[in-house]
Assembly symmetry: C2
Homo-oligomer: 732 residues x 2
């Protein structure tokens, strides 16, 4: 049995710390006063709706998990086409992801009224409650993620012992627990995304546009569903997405490390495997430090608030950068300095993508202002300008990721472009660990993400409970801050998804080799000699499967991959359209049939709207979800390994670009509307305002449904390919 | 000197026939009466504006051509990094493309009033004049294309004689004359696309929306510019685009044939080289036959008109399919039956993509109807639905192209998936010749494309000249038919661009080998032995440059390629937005300052609007154009051959999908508006109508600027890479 170094225990310790602190923040939030009876009532509606949705979703997910687990079990025990641990790993991955979503959302729904109530006292109180409640989500995600990783690593190491190849089997087996996380994330992101935007678009179209009542007005029957949507889409969906990236990046880097250093002397291989886990573990402590640093004082401007959050996240980021050098040096990783710079390049890429997202979506900069200005010639030019700007905004993120890929590859292998077997392996390890670097401080970055919808809901609660002007001003500043952090959070989620997907792509090759080894299929190396697949280097592999750009299978795979991204987006856009139309009908019906709603004397049937969103989301998420799972399987069976790799690269390149485009276009339309509302180009109620509302409504599914769902697609397609590697090998 | 078979002479004969018939159709059109003085006056304005634009554009293009020719000359004579014929070939390619645009547009601008006048007599008269004038464009394009090909082939064969490698040099040198066509097409498509939509959007926004006057109303100052735009964008732009595809597909297939059959016995190599040219030549005669078959009778319904056009194009397509078997059999091409099926798969793919485009964009089918229906909840849902539907519509074209790629590859090499050197080469030849198949009847398919704007202009002329209700009804049916053919024509243009780009991609490899051979750089083969680059097989090449999907250069190239497509689209969308805004200002100014315009007593300053469109288009096309040329050069220098191939594949997969999305979304918004105008959902003037107008306006740059410009981008990036192969080799 390979000796697990003592330092490994830091990982479960970090996990337990994260979970304990999450519990601590949750408890202290719960102790705060929830406010007036009206506030408690409204929060109750939302909590009830959110939990009802989650329950319904978990039912659907449970069915899918049972089916998939049976398939994996049959593959593993019936056909020997999979490792026997896979069904169990798969289930724990999904279970922990679901648990994280449950805790995160529960906290968020308890926190919103308390944030509004705290804002009655001071801005700092409000910020602290909202942000620390967001931190619960962040800490639960990293805590459960690391726990799952640590436990499986200990268990599997116990069973597989012996030579260095056992560690490869352990890490690639663990990788498949990411499939559970992926599946859970798929439903959380797609279902949650459809839910939230069906409610939002429906509420806006009838409420704001037709009935001319403000956002979050309690007279609007869809307003509770809209607030529920913020929780299920932006808290639970985002959490599941990043849980998947977090685990995926750590696990694939571990697997790449096991292969890259399989032939190294001593326990170098083991150290390379636990290095990404350790960076993540140290990141937990630094995230905690950052969370405690976030505070502000009364009368804080938007800039002060941003600085308060920025101080926390940036301190954590700078410290993890420094800590990485120490960790890798102490672990005595070969070329530790270079690998450290790989981590830095991932961290930096995350920051740059976040900055570029802010530039393209914030109304303080030219791009969004010019979209507002386009409203002078109507809604059509707002859309044209927004789409144009969104497309141009893909440039910086793509170049950043490109540079990060090159740098992390080259730093890790000592700037070796020889494409020798070893240089590729260590280079790929560098790309993986760059993704880990980007995600290492997820504890705090996810806190800033989850903070957004809590502040948004607090604002809704304040509006619906008729709290004073001063309170609403405070919740408005908290909310505005949330919009900015949500935009940068989205950029960050996309960037990390791309790097993670790339690391998974590389791991796919390892899975295929292991699958071939398991069934005894031989491979030929570059020289043409028959070899055991598990001994094949990447050049051998590429040559054997002809994974080059003149192979029509690769080309067709790339075409299908690019198309899959568009198709998936189109389906989710269509889903939001249909679900929103149902909501519009329902709201119109209530306005018509329930007397006195608009006068404030009748009570709208909030529950019916919540139900409609829930049902629509559940129905509409099925086709895109099945598609995302089935496309890589079909391509694998029809076009083999070369086709799958083409699919993944085509899907990744097109999907990443499309995701950035959609997120940024959506974000800038949102803020272009806000810019007009701030009094520019005629302000609220003007023709320009109406034109920007059209942009904002179009942007809703862009930025909150289709765009973020692409993150899942690009990771999930790799994950499915990995899990189905056995099938691909058996069929070819 | 390789013996050129007698049958080769069919190619110049076909070319001369096409040009003669074009002249004949032009003459007979010119003999027709142009109508009332008012009609002649209006046609004069448009002709004048169109020619002024073309003159201005050719000035800019001339400068670019001089600069590029000098660069190529320096590369060829100064650094020996290019074949000495390249500068000349480049210039003739551009010159002939420009000439085709000039003739086509001249004809179109003379034909519109005559079509309107003929429609005063009967529908058949109108159709015949419009269609045969469109045929002038089609025939000039294929005639000049084949002429250029035939002359260069004869000239170069005279200078390079001897072994089989000379034919490789001849064909790859000729390929670079496609660079001239590409450059010309870039400016025609991008400049023309910006021009036409700036005028169209500007005219609509102020005319239809603000002043509430109908389309083509002479009181609208931008109406002449709008009509000019149809000519410069849809006639000249489309013509240049397909001229490039036509020449590019024939030339790259010839080059692929020269390589694939270099080692074959007898003159097999020569026969493989002239096979694509012969198929194209026979296609000319069959196109002529089809053109003569297009006629209809008075009282024809839309269905009859569609059938009339369909009869012509389908007859030509079926006959060329049959003829292909005969040609390849008589040429005794190795595996002639299989290669014939490659051609058929290209032809079929063209038909299927056209049908799918019609399904997704015509208001007779569900997708477009449902976009109309979305107008019940406003403009935002029209946009959401249109984008969703457009994205979903990418599925069939991508799968069709994918199947066509696989089939044409496998048919040509006898279903050999061994990826042996020879099987790849013959497979790639199959892909190239599939593109030739798709484009072989371009004479008539382009005629149906160019017919559209002529009919559109005829309608405009009838409206502005106050011709009777009956006449306008006839021109309306002609115009409606034009909209359908334009949509299918766009699908066809995109599909052929994708296959052509793929063939060019394969040719790029040959160019690199020749460039290495020229400067004496050695390569290693798969076994590791040093060999002369010109003897390298594709597996050698792929191995030497590590063009596999685990090379970070390839991955980064693919990312940048996908981003380039989005960036290019974003820039052209932005350009239309800016140019349209200028137009809006000008029209508003004229309404304000020129007394009596809206009452019909004052004359608008049409010329000023034409000028604005011309200037905006010329300014705005510079940045996207330079980008399209420079990106592959930079990638080549920074990332080398592997990066360029990644770039081309990423750009092709994402660009093709994006182009289909944009063209279909735009087309369906256009027809969703028409569906409402036909009296559905409240008809003209209703709130639903206004909502669909927003969709139509957004769709304008989608379908007529950004979407079609992507065709150019994906071909041009390959072409630039080919021409700059010498530079890439010198730098690496």
């Amino acid at each position: 049995m390979e000796q697990i170094p003592m330092v490994f225990w830091l990982i479960p310790i970090a996990s337990v710390c994260a979970l304990f602190m999450a519990w601590f923040f949750f408890r202290s939030m719960m102790k705060a006063d929830e406010g007036t009876p009206r506030m408690i009532e409204i929060a109750g509606y939302i909590r009830h709706g959110a939990m009802a949705y989650l329950k319904q979703q978990y039912k659907v997910v449970l069915i899918v998990f049972v089916i998939l687990a049976i398939i994996f079990a049959i593959m593993a025990y019936g056909f020997n086409a999979q490792n026997p641990w896979v069904p169990f790993a798969f289930l724990t991955g999904g279970f922990f992801s679901g648990l994280a979503g449950f805790f995160g959302m529960k906290t968020a729904t308890y926190a919103s009224a308390r944030t509004a109530n705290a804002a009655r006292h001071s801005l700092d109180h409000g910020l602290k409650i909202a942000f620390r409640s967001g931190a619960v989500m962040g800490l639960v995600v990293v805590g459960l993620g690391l726990l799952d990783i640590a436990v499986w690593f200990l268990v599997l190491n116990h069973f597989y012992n012996g030579d260095s190849s056992s560690l490869i089997i352990v890490t690639t087996t663990m990788l498949t627990f990411g499939m559970g996380a992926s599946t859970q994330a798929l439903f959380a992101r797609v279902g949650g995304g459809i839910y939230t935007k069906a409610a939002d678009v429906g509420a806006d179209l009838v409420g704001k546009v037709e009935a001319d009542i403000p956002e979050d007005d309690p007279r609007n029957p869809a307003t509770i569903a809209d607030n529920v949507g913020d929780n299920v889409g932006d808290v639970a969906g985002m959490g599941a997405d990043l849980y998947e990236s977090y685990c995926g990046s750590i696990l694939s880097t571990a697997a790449l490390g096991a292969t890259a250093f399989a032939a190294s002397a001593g326990d170098m291989q083991m150290r390379a495997v636990i290095a990404p886990m350790l960076i993540a573990a140290v990141g937990v402590f630094l995230s905690l430090l950052g969370i405690f640093m976030v505070r502000t004082k009364e009368g804080a401007t938007m800039k002060d608030l941003l600085r308060a959050l920025g101080l926390g996240t940036n301190t954590a980021a700078v410290l993890i950068a420094l800590a990485t050098f120490a960790i890798l040096y102490l672990l005595q990783i070969e070329n530790w300095l270079g690998v450290s710079f790989s981590v830095i390049s991932g961290l930096l890429a995350g920051v740059i993508i976040g900055q570029s997202t802010e530039y393209y979506t914030s109304q303080t900069y030219k791009p969004t202002k010019s979209i507002s200005e386009a409203s002078k010639t109507g809604a059509a030019t707002v859309i044209i300008k927004g789409i144009g700007t969104g497309m141009i905004s893909t440039c910086i993120p793509v170049l950043t990721i490109s540079v990060a890929i090159m740098l992390s590859y080259l730093c890790a292998n000592g700037f070796d472009m020889s494409m020798s077997a070893q240089s590729i392996q260590t280079g790929l390890y560098g790309i993986g660990i760059a993704a880990v670097g980007m995600l290492s401080t997820l504890g705090i970055t996810l806190a800033t993400d989850a903070y957004g919808p809590i502040a948004d809901n607090a604002g809704g609660n304040a509006e619906m409970s008729n709290l004073g002007e001063e309170v609403r001003e405070r919740t408005d500043s908290l909310d505005a801050l949330g919009n900015t952090t949500a935009a940068t959070g989205k950029g960050f989620a996309i960037g990390s998804a791309a790097l993670t997907a790339l690391a998974l792509l590389a791991s796919y090759i390892e899975e295929i080799k292991i699958a071939m080894h398991r069934v005894g299929t031989m491979m030929t190396n570059v020289a043409g000699d028959a070899i055991d697949a598990s001994n094949a280097t990447i050049p051998d592999f590429m040559n054997y499967f002809q994974v080059n750009l003149m192979n029509p299978k690769v080309l067709v795979g790339a075409f299908v991959g690019a198309m899959a991204a568009f198709l998936f987006c189109g389906l989710t856009m269509g889903a939001v359209g249909r679900a929103a139309a149902k909501m519009v009908e329902e709201v119109r019906r209530q306005f018509r049939e329930i007397k006195g709603i608009l006068e404030g004397t009748g009570t709208p049937d909030y529950g019916r709207c919540v139900e409609i969103s829930t049902l629509s989301a559940q129905q509409e998420m099925i086709i895109p979800s099945i598609l995302a799972i089935i496309i890589p399987i079909i391509v694998g069976v029809v076009l083999g390994v070369a086709g799958v790799l083409g699919l993944l690269v085509g899907g990744l390149a097109a999907g990443f670009t499309l995701a950035v485009f959609m997120a940024n276009a959506g974000g800038s339309w949102d803020n272009a509307k806000k810019y007009v509302e701030e009094g520019n180009f005629g302000g609220k109620g003007s023709a320009c305002h109406k034109a920007t509302i059209v942009g904002d409504t179009v942007g809703d599914p862009f930025k909150d449904t289709s765009g973020p769902s692409l993150n899942i697609l690009i990771k999930l397609m790799s994950m499915v390919s990995i899990v189905m590697a056995g099938l691909t090998v058996a069929m070819s």
